[in-house]
Amino acid sequence: MGEFIDAVAIAVKAGIGFQAVFLALLAIGINMQFGYAGLLNFGQIAFALLGAYGIAISVSQWGLDFWVGVLIGLVAAVVLALLLGLPTLRLRADYLAIATIAAAEGLRLLFRSVSATPVTNGSRGISGFNRQFVELAPWDTGRRYSLLGTFWSGADLWVAAVGWTLVALASLLVWGLVRSPWGRVVKSIREDEDAVRALGKNVYVYKMQALVLGGIFGALGGMIYAVGTGSTTPDQYQNANTFLAYAALILGGAARVLGPVVGAMLMYFIIQFADSGLRSLIENGVIPAGLLSTTDVAQIRFVIIGLGLILLLVFRPQGIFGDRREVMLDAR
């Protein structure tokens, strides 16, 4: 029983920690693109990678100010969105999907390649760039704090607090946008692109704006993750994270302002709970070691995500909060 409570406590901590913020921001971005505009961005993690490395390279390699790094990361994400959107947004949805998934994998390979090592430090990554950010904390970051039965380092708490503030601001922005005339046009593009075009709207521009905005949210997520972990390596930004964010979004409910946020918290809770639960079951011999070992647990989470994605889309595509009529998407 004690172990069960421990597992719940660890899972709760994961559900409100900066990793969940990371996932929530990725999912908010995807919600803008996929939920409202119907764009299939399967390379959201590439935007996070650019955000994280924007800070890391600027601060650690070039010696620039932290906030200049944030700016560089955001600009890089906007540029990537434009580069991806320009050729593909005029085509059917799956072309953007293929191009973005290719870009995400390509960027990761590029950042970890030997030839990029002078700038990105290759697969070893960059660390030591978050001091200026952590020093802004109003409390002592050297101490440990107790919260809801879990222990947090002061720095983690600060990153999480800033992160959730960002999530709240982003959600507020999305809430305002989708109720504006702009949001109504974007939503109608999702429903019937030709009809919107017939009304004289420039569909291409609206789609591009949604893509850029989602990409910026993704970059912010990557930045939170980078300052939270204090180091950044290309392999932290595996594209499986994009699909984790999709699963979180669909779990919470696409095309709902709070869908991605609730989905991300729940998702991290479930993953962490399954993780520590499985570990303790294996260590106590409930699951025989021949069947699963503790090193397999890290992979189990992706199996769960994959299965969860399939089951959700088959049986409840609208997730917890969604409206079924809004998420019966078809390719266009």
Binding site: L40, F42, L84, L86, P87, T88, L91, R92, D94, Y95, A97, I98, A99, I101, A102, A103, E105, G106, L109, L110, R112, S113, V114, S115, A116, T117, S123, R124, G125, S127, S231, T233, D235, A240, F243, Y246, L292, S293, T294, T295, D296, A298, Q299, I300, F302, V303, I305, G306, G308, L309, I310, L311, L313, V314, F315, M328, L329, D330, A331, R332
Partner: protein, 454 residues
């Protein structure tokens, strides 16, 4: 070549009356339990299949965990004095070693877990390069000596003297392109006949390689019958895919985007299940190891590479003949071209799609075996190939069979030849860049037609 516009409508509008026949009018309740059962069966089957492949949990004699490997190339043989650094994923150094006169290195580990093995760029001797990056991340189980292979390339790839680098790359690229093509034909035909962008197609490639590896190494069966068996199982997996998942989903009118995300879920599920049961390392087949390259004048090839080229060529010509001459082949092209017209002229569309899935599965499995023969078997080999398959299929024209052949060959050659200009470990990036450029210049591909991309 013009296409009727209903082709676009089928992809474009969910209210399209042309698909209404495939949907139960009042929603899905009667099918719900059945579909759940089917999904469970899929999961059980994949789990059962994967359980056949133990993570090679041998070598349990050592009391602790080790990482070991051999550094060699086909020309120089084992290389002595290469520095190997093992780190944790966080970058903390665990240990280093230098290869001995047999090219072997061994690093003791503090415990099971994930480790990254890196070889510093400057520790390689003159003229030797990494064939795909200078580090590998592996998961080491308890009490296991995990083998790590870091691919080396001695530039020539052959017996030295007389061969020209660009011809060599052209031939290598041709071989690689044929492998991509074999896997991509199924991907393209599935897209053409059902509209599904199948992101789980790479996993069909991997399962072929893994099944053949298991039969070959654990079962002691020679590789050729093992490969044939793997093809049969690949066809079976394709059949199960269609019968248990995609056909029921089509029947309940699942949208194409939802189907696409489901295929991504399936891909994640299978890929990481493979990793759990196969392990994170790469393994070679028991047969045809350590072949020396044979010189053919301007280029060199190992015998197994030559055999792969011949097998792939023969199989692809057979596929083309089948598509061109046989009744089912013509039906496939007809369904891919215009499904409703094909159905109204008496073609059993569901049967054609089933055959496409089985053929795609078998071809992908064979491609996986041949890829495993040249690059070793890994749990994510198919996924890494998938992006190049998409590049090839897009280049050739989504949905066309011959387009996939031509496009894949171009992509394979392009990826290999690009190493003339860019470093070897970013050559895939070149291929992916090519994909984005194609989308800008000619999105319908070489053999595609304009209406498809609407």
């Amino acid at each position: 070549m013009t296409h009727p516009t209903d082709r676009v409508r089928r992809h474009g509008r969910r209210s399209s009356p042309t698909r209404a026949g495939a949907r139960t009018p009042a929603g899905r309740p009667p099918r719900r339990g059945l579909t759940a059962l089917r999904l469970l069966l899929v999961a059980l089957f994949t789990a059962g299949l994967a359980a056949l492949v133990p993570g090679a949990a041998l070598a349990a004699d050592d009391a602790s965990e080790q990482i070991s490997g051999t550094m060699r190339t086909s020309v120089s043989g084992p290389i002595e004095g290469i520095e190997v650094v093992v780190t944790t994923p966080d970058g903390d150094e665990v240990g280093t070693d230098e290869t001995d006169e047999n090219g072997r290195f061994v690093v003791d580990l503090p415990g099971p877990g994930q480790y990254t093995v890196t070889v510093p760029e400057d520790s390689l001797p003159e003229g030797v390069e990494f064939s795909s990056g200078n580090s590998r991340t592996v998961t080491v189980d308890a009490n296991r000596n995990q083998g790590v292979i870091i691919g080396l390339d001695d530039g020539s790839g052959g017996a030295g003297g007389g061969n020209t680098r660009w011809v060599q790359l052209l031939v290598d690229g041709f071989r690689f392109g044929l492998l991509i093509a074999m896997a991509a034909v199924g991907l393209s035909l599935i897209f053409g006949t059902t509209g599904l962008t199948n992101f789980a197609h790479g996993e069909l490639v991997t399962i072929g390689a893994i099944v053949a590896w298991f039969i070959n190494v654990e079962g002691g069966v020679p590789l050729i019958p093992a490969a044939l068996l793997a093809m049969v199982i690949g066809a079976g997996v394709g059949l199960l895919n269609e019968r248990l998942l995609w056909r029921p989903l089509r029947r309940r009118g699942t949208g194409l985007v939802a189907a696409l995300v489901i295929s991504i879920g399936l891909s994640l599920l299978l890929r990481y299940a493979y990793q759990i049961f196969f392990g994170g390392g790469s393994e070679a087949y028991a047969d045809y190891r350590g072949q020396r390259a044979v010189s053919y004048g301007a280029f060199t090839l190992t015998n197994k590479a030559l055999a792969s080229i011949i097998i792939a060529l023969v199989v692809l010509v057979l596929v083309a003949l089948m598509l061109q001459k046989t009744k089912i082949g013509k039906a496939m092209r007809a369904v891919a071209d215009n499904r409703d017209l094909a159905a109204s002229s008496g073609i059993d569309v569901n049967r054609v799609i089933l055959v496409v899935w089985m053929m795609g599965g078998a071809l992908a499995a064979l491609g996986g075996v041949l890829l495993g023969l040249s690059d070793e078997v890994q749990w994510d080999m198919g996924f890494r190939l998938l992006l190049l398959m998409f590049a090839g299929v897009t280049l050739g024209g989504l949905g066309t069979a011959y387009g996939a052949l031509v496009g894949s060959l171009v992509v394979g050659v392009f990826v290999q030849m690009s190493t003339l200009v860019i470093p070897n470990d970013v050559k895939y990036v070149g291929g992916l860049l090519l994909l984005i450029i194609i989308l800008m210049v000619r999105p319908q591909g070489i053999l595609g037609s304009r209406v498809r991309v609407g």
